[in-house]
């Protein structure tokens, strides 16, 4: 009976999207020998594989490629850098090492990974792990939308894969839920599939402060925008026939006939593996808490990309990947634990900030940015950083916050904070 193979390597990167592939290339450039990328899809490249529109690679490549071109370039670069890229290969579980059972620090060794591929079941034994598993949109059940359960309800990710990777038809009349930039991608994808977006339903405010995607959809393609509203019920037993939409202020319920519903945004990290490792979790979403060097709470385990900030753009994920190489290489040479650190937590109006940890000697974050997820639009934000209840920095930034888009702030806002002090809170002045 074949035993699972044992596979030793220096670094196991889990996930071959922009973040994971960029990390692997940077690790090879830093002189790391055996870098394995496990990618569960048959084709690596991550989400951009099915984003047909241009604009990928601005910050990391100074290009504006289409998603598929960008994904292809990342894969080519990884292969020519000598990365051991294994597609159709999924990390399904962690395996405790034997020494975990003994004395020392139980459960704190770098974990082994169980992987499955058509080549077999293998136990990968790495010296360091980089988690790059990305993020996804919440599906219908997690949003608790009641009603019948017919076919024809998709997330944008599924819609894009159906249309761009499988050339499948969708219906003819779609309701798009949400107005973040990805909702705009959904409208474009629907149009390409010959399906008309008959409404974009957003809980965003009335006409005074328009959401960017809604404006674009309305102006360019004449998609009617239904504001301050939630889809509360899906109607149709076999196939969607309509949705019921409730106005948040008046409570009035209206019915919109459609045969397709696209649920956009409402991001959540693909955090099963990080959760199963018991990594400390960030505030405001289920991904791991990391410091500026992208170290998690477990020595030798790092994380990059949208797993850490659900979601920012692909190029920002790729820059994380480049950034993490230094800390990983450092770990491989001296296996030192993360130093003293304190949490960076979100204040109003942010749902999360990332990195969520300030550690001594961790240096500046990827691209020098502190990312945050705004729940409200603020035209001239004045950022306030507090530690132990004392304001340590305040700065007015020139760019507004917009719900549905990561807000990028300079990491230097934290310069005056003390990694040995208490919690740091980053918010805006009301």
């Amino acid at each position: 009976m074949p035993e699972p193979r044992i596979d030793a390597c220096d670094v196991l990167v889990v996930g071959g999207g922009p973040a994971g592939l960029s990390a692997a290339v940077a690790l090879r450039s830093a002189g790391v020998e055996r870098v394995v990328v496990a990618e569960r899809e048959v084709v690596a490249g991550g989400v951009p594989r099915h984003c047909a529109h241009p604009g990928f690679g601005l910050r990391d490549r100074r290009r504006a490629w289409s998603g598929p071109t960008y994904a292809r370039r990342l894969v080519e670069d990884a292969l020519s850098a000598g990365v051991d890229l294994r597609t159709g290969t999924m990390v399904t579980d962690w395996a405790a090492r034997d020494e975990d059972a003994g004395g020392g620090a139980p459960g704190l060794a770098v974990p082994d990974a169980w992987v499955t591929s058509p080549l077999g079941r293998a136990r990968v034994v790495p010296r360091a792990v980089v988690l790059a598993t990305g993020a996804r949109e919440r599906p219908r059940a997690a949003r608790m939308i009641a009603g019948d359960r017919p076919d024809g309800v998709y997330t944008t990710g599924q819609l894009q894969a159906m249309v761009h990777l499988h050339g499948r038809a969708v219906g003819s009349r779609a309701v798009v839920v949400g107005s973040a930039p990805v909702a705009w991608s959904a409208v474009l994808t629907l149009r390409e599939a010959g399906c008309r977006a008959v409404a974009m339903v957003t809980d965003g405010p009335a006409a005074d402060i328009p959401a960017p995607a809604a404006v674009a959809a309305q102006a360019a393609l004449g998609v009617p925008v239904v504001r301050r509203s939630h889809v509360v019920r899906i109607v149709g037993r076999q196939r969607v026939r309509a949705v019921e939409v409730r106005h948040l202020d008046t409570g009035a319920v209206a019915t919109i006939d459609c045969d397709t519903v696209v649920l956009t945004a409402d991001w959540t990290p693909e955090s099963e593996l990080s959760a199963r490792l018991g990594l400390e979790v960030a505030d405001g979403f289920a991904g791991p808490r990391v410091d500026a060097a992208l170290r998690t709470s477990r020595p030798g385990v790092f994380a990059v990309g949208n797993l850490l900030h659900p979601v920012d753009t692909a190029d920002v994920a790729a820059l994380d990947g480049r950034h993490v190489a230094r800390a990983v290489a450092g770990w491989l040479s001296d296996e030192r634990d993360r130093p003293v650190a304190t949490r960076v937590r979100p204040g109003w109006p942010f749902a999360w900030v990332a990195p969520g940890l300030l550690a001594a000697g961790a240096g500046v974050s990827a691209n020098g940015r502190l990312l945050a997820w705004p729940t409200q639009r603020v035209r001239t934000p004045r950022v306030r950083v507090e530690q132990d209840g004392v304001v340590v920095a305040e700065r007015t930034l020139r760019w507004p916050t917009a719900p549905g888009r990561a807000y990028r702030m300079p990491w230097s806002l934290l310069d005056a904070c003390d990694p040995a002090g208490g919690d740091i809170v980053v918010g805006l002045r009301e």
Partner: protein
């Protein structure tokens, strides 16, 4: 997909739910006049087990809380034994988790001893009263305020989908025929045989078994009876993300009330946590929609029962309809003159009782004059694909992948479903009719992403398989 309607049968079983399929399997294991009994299952929907049998809480009940002396009490207890053994034989996932029934008020605490005596009256001897600290030792994440409980170690969880499919697979293996997408619209008993009129034509048959679930009363009226009326009682359920599974290792039951069994929390054989069901009478026999009121009600219970549950996402929400009637027991009878067996009002325990109902059907037919004898030689038992978490799945099986790399090609990532399993389901004896049917056979797309990553590919695989 639909087999051609036969012109003649010994027995027509109306309804391919868990009960109808169990009955068909059992009858096809018998012979009459020295030849195998010719059994035809007629199912209105596109698949077996696509009605109430697909949407329940999936507990293999001991019957400890049934009303002693009823047929239901007897058949649940017997079905528990039969199905438990059968599951091990053919590979239906079962986990012997046990249950703990929790008292949250002085009244409920006071009711526990009578529940214990009821269990004993039902012939179930393993239940015992436990103190609050033992309740919390069994479920450390349980919400505050539990006063005591009744431990019922025999209560178990089972895969409802594999159960129906195993029965159907074995029935077909024994020579029974399955006709799907075909509704029985009239039944005309004559002196020697009966004409069954369907949307796809007529069948002449000697016996008819009514296993039509929610449609049982309508079918019964077609034969001229007026014995019961089905009033669908809807039960909504929430299934939580697998990350919640460590919170609860046993079934946590409430103290039952006059209104029903109440809201429970239970692990599932797929590694999730389930919360539900509600109980609400609905006029429409097809209304398996979920509702905001149902969600709010269940989350309210969840918050009290297992507060940490609300920190994880809901993976699925669905509803099933119990075939409740005005009677407090199953409505089971045989009419020798019409050569007709009624299995009606199989409300909230039919999964567990299914094999006992099948055994009972044989008994009733014999009483009515059918000279049924067990076939001396039967085909070997089915071996069902395992979709349960407690047993080895193909993606974990190095040997299996080495023999056939398709079992190493995971296509549904959240649930670790491989291309080999999807291929097998599509080529199986009872192939799925749609995505939902594929989901019930393999778990594909029933995970936390609900198709974000795999929906497009799996839809394409399903269509290619049908082409």
């Amino acid at each position: 997909m639909t087999a051609v309607l036969p012109v003649r049968a010994d027995v027509v079983v109306v309804g391919g739910g868990v009960v109808g399929c169990a009955v068909a399997r059992e009858l096809a294991g018998h012979e009459i006049d020295g030849r195998p009994l010719d059994v035809v299952v007629v199912e209105a929907r596109g698949d077996v087990g696509d009605g109430t049998s697909k949407a329940n809480t999936a507990i293999l009940h001991t019957g400890f809380d049934a009303t002693p002396g009823t047929l239901e009490a007897r058949l649940v207890a017997r079905g528990y034994e039969l199905l438990g053994a059968y599951a091990a034989e053919v590979g239906i996932p079962v986990e012997r988790t046990g249950a703990i029934l929790v008292a949250w008020s002085a009244d409920e605490l006071a009711a526990l001893p009578s529940l214990l005596s009821k269990a004993q009256a039902n012939g179930y001897a393993d239940a015992r009263l436990v103190e609050a600290d033992e309740v919390y030792a069994a479920v450390p994440a349980l919400g505050a305020g539990a006063l005591g409980g009744l431990a019922v170690p025999g209560e178990s969880i089972i895969c409802p989908w594999t159960t129906t499919l195993a029965f159907a697979t074995e029935a077909l293996g024994r020579g029974a025929r399955l006709v799907r997408d075909t509704r029985v619209v009239d039944v005309r008993p004559g002196p020697v045989d009966t004409e069954v009129v369907t949307t796809a034509g007529r069948i002449r048959t000697t016996w008819v078994v009514n296993a039509a679930g929610l449609g049982g009363d309508e079918l019964d009226r077609m034969l001229g009876h007026d014995r019961f009326t089905v009033v669908p009682r809807r039960g909504e359920l929430l299934v939580f993300d697998k990350l919640a599974r460590p919170l609860v290792d046993v079934i946590v039951l409430p103290v039952p009330t006059a209104k029903g069994k109440g809201v429970l929390v239970s692990p599932t054989v797929f590694g999730n946590v389930m919360l539900g069901p509600t109980a609400e009478e609905v006029p429409d026999r097809g209304d398996t929609s979920t509702s905001d009121a149902g969600f709010a009600f269940l989350l309210g219970h969840g918050r009290r029962l297992l507060p940490a549950l609300l920190d994880v996402d809901v993976t699925a929400a669905y509803a099933g309809l119990r075939a409740a009637t005005e009677h407090a027991d199953y409505v089971v009878d045989v009419d020798a003159g019409q050569r007709y067996v009624l299995l009606g009002g199989i409300r909230s325990t039919g999964l567990t009782a299914s094999m006992a109902l099948a055994e009972h059907t044989v008994r009733l037919l014999r009483e009515a004059g059918a000279d049924l004898r067990p076939r001396p030689v039967l085909p070997p038992p089915a071996r069902m694909p395992n979709i349960g978490e407690a047993f080895v799945r193909p993606y974990q099986d190095a040997e299996r992948i080495a023999q056939d790399p398709a079992y190493g090609r995971i296509v549904c990532f959240c649930e670790r479903v491989t291309r080999g399993e999807i291929r097998d389901a599509l080529a199986g004896p009872v192939p799925p009719a749609d995505l939902d049917g594929l989901r019930r056979r393999t778990r594909a797309m029933m995970g936390r992403c609900q198709g974000f990553a795999c929906g497009a590919e799996i839809t394409s695989l399903l269509e290619a398989g049908h082409a």
